[in-house]
């Protein structure tokens, strides 16, 4: 997630580690208190899992 118009989330290919706080129906995980992340690619997830998120989708799990 980036609010800086000069920082390119796609060009920087960024992956932000986020922690799952709740699981919603339809393969959505809540990270923090209101960031919705699509988890179709890394299911199943549970609260406490750390996911690598890019543009609203979890592309991998982060092994801690």
């Amino acid at each position: 997630m980036s609010l800086d118009a000069a920082h390119c989330i796609t060009c920087s290919d960024e992956g932000v580690p986020m922690t799952v706080t709740a699981v919603r129906p339809g393969a959505i995980a809540l990270c923090g208190t209101d960031v919705e992340v699509m988890v179709d690619l890394v299911e199943p997830v549970e609260p406490g899992d750390v996911l690598l998120v890019h543009a609203g989708v979890a592309i991998a799990r982060v092994e801690s």
């Binding site: 980036s2 390119c8 060009c11 290919d13």
Partner: protein
């Protein structure tokens, strides 16, 4: 944050830098291309370049899916944004890319309803909340970002959302790399591979680099130590006479990529026969469009877009910078007519572009060791 701090340790960095010094042949000049804008960003943010000897040169490649969008496509986007009833959504970084007649930011200041989103899901939410308007999402990015668009479209289709469409400008990474390698004026010794693209597509799509061109490629993470280690691994391969695909980012990248992601991409997208890359010209099979199954969500079918091809300004030498043939400061307009505030070409548009990164961060590097 535990996940990142250990990969930024200065002492480990110095140790790796010392290792690198012992791995290279004195007097030989090495050119290693890092393709991914994120790697460019890390190199400049931490000054990783400064820890390398002068004879190891990092060349920045075309890893900027936003800045390679041709000016004509930006004009098309602006045309759609000005349509009655449209809410046009895009990532923040797209707002400053110049088209033939200005940027999306300019269009917003002129009254078009253009909103920044952090994910296509946000755009879909806006569509649900505003059934009386039509929401268009400007989809950009490599294979890392395409799954996000695809999954959003699958949800839109499943829910039967009638007022949402996507203006698709996704591109794939392998064709431009092949085009670069085929280029006669290119002389590269090895590659640093895009870590998060590989999370989706795996390491195998890059095996053509060692197989067809005999060059090593190491898939790298994004922290400074990741990069230094990956450079070391490339140099190690060269010293050993090997050429293979190695994965330095094993903690995240699975060898085979993400099977679900690949399936989802095949369901929602198909390859365009060719797509124009700003600075690089037309490249076959390098761009994605929505498949017929998703035609209802294709903004290009729903709206009349001008579709005019706008040629790059004559002074622009982005193509040569992208191929690593010239350095940013060697471009005739670098820093004078072309600056981050008033960019002419793609390399200056995004802060991860080679020219913008050099202008913003790299102008006064340290003295480096010559081996």
């Amino acid at each position: 944050m535990k996940f990142v701090d250990e990969y930024r340790d200065a002492e480990l960095g110095r140790a790796l830098a010392a290792e690198i010094l012992t791995t290279i042949e004195p007097g030989r000049h090495y050119k290693v291309m890092e393709v991914c804008g994120g790697h460019t960003h890390t190199i400049y943010k931490y000054g990783v370049d400064d820890l390398l000897p002068e004879n190891v040169e990092l060349v920045h490649g075309p890893g900027c899916p936003v800045c390679v969008i041709p000016m004509g496509r930006v004009d098309d986007a602006i045309a759609v944004a000005h349509e009655d009833g449209v809410i046009f959504t895009c990532f923040g970084d797209m707002m400053r890319v110049p088209g033939g007649k200005g940027t999306l930011l300019d269009a917003k200041a002129q009254g078009a309803d253009i909103r920044m989103v952090y994910s296509p899901l946000d755009a879909l939410r806006i569509a649900r909340e505003h059934p009386e308007r039509h929401v268009v999402f400007f989809a950009v990015g490599f294979e890392t970002t395409a799954p996000s668009t695809a999954l959003t479209l699958m949800r839109a289709k499943a829910e039967g959302i009638p007022n949402f469409s996507v203006f698709c400008n996704h591109v794939t990474i392998v064709p431009p790399l092949r085009a670069l390698l085929e280029s006669p004026d290119l002389r590269l010794d090895g590659f640093i591979g895009p870590g998060h693209v590989c999370t989706v597509v795996g390491a195998r799509p890059f095996s053509f680099i060692p197989a067809d061109y005999g060059k090593p490629i190491v898939i790298s993470g994004f922290e400074p130590l990741d990069l230094l280690q990956s450079v070391h691994m490339v140099l190690r391969q060269l010293a050993d006479g090997r050429a293979e695909v190695e994965n330095q980012y094993k903690r995240v990248v699975p060898e085979e990529g993400n099977v679900h992601a690949l399936r989802v991409l095949q369901e929602v997208f198909e390859l365009r026969p060719h797509f124009e890359w700003r600075g690089l010209g037309f490249i076959s099979s390098s761009g994605l469009k929505l498949s017929d199954r998703y035609a209802d969500f294709d903004a290009e079918l729903r709206f009349e877009v001008p579709g005019v091809r706008v040629a790059d300004p004559k002074a622009c030498q982005c193509g040569e910078v992208l191929k690593g043939v010239i350095k940013p400061w060697e471009c005739k307009v670098f820093g004078t007519a072309c600056t981050p505030e008033r960019p002419i070409g793609t390399c200056m548009v995004s802060s991860e572009g080679a020219c913008a990164a050099y202008y913003n961060y790299g102008r006064f590097a340290r003295e480096r060791v010559v081996v």
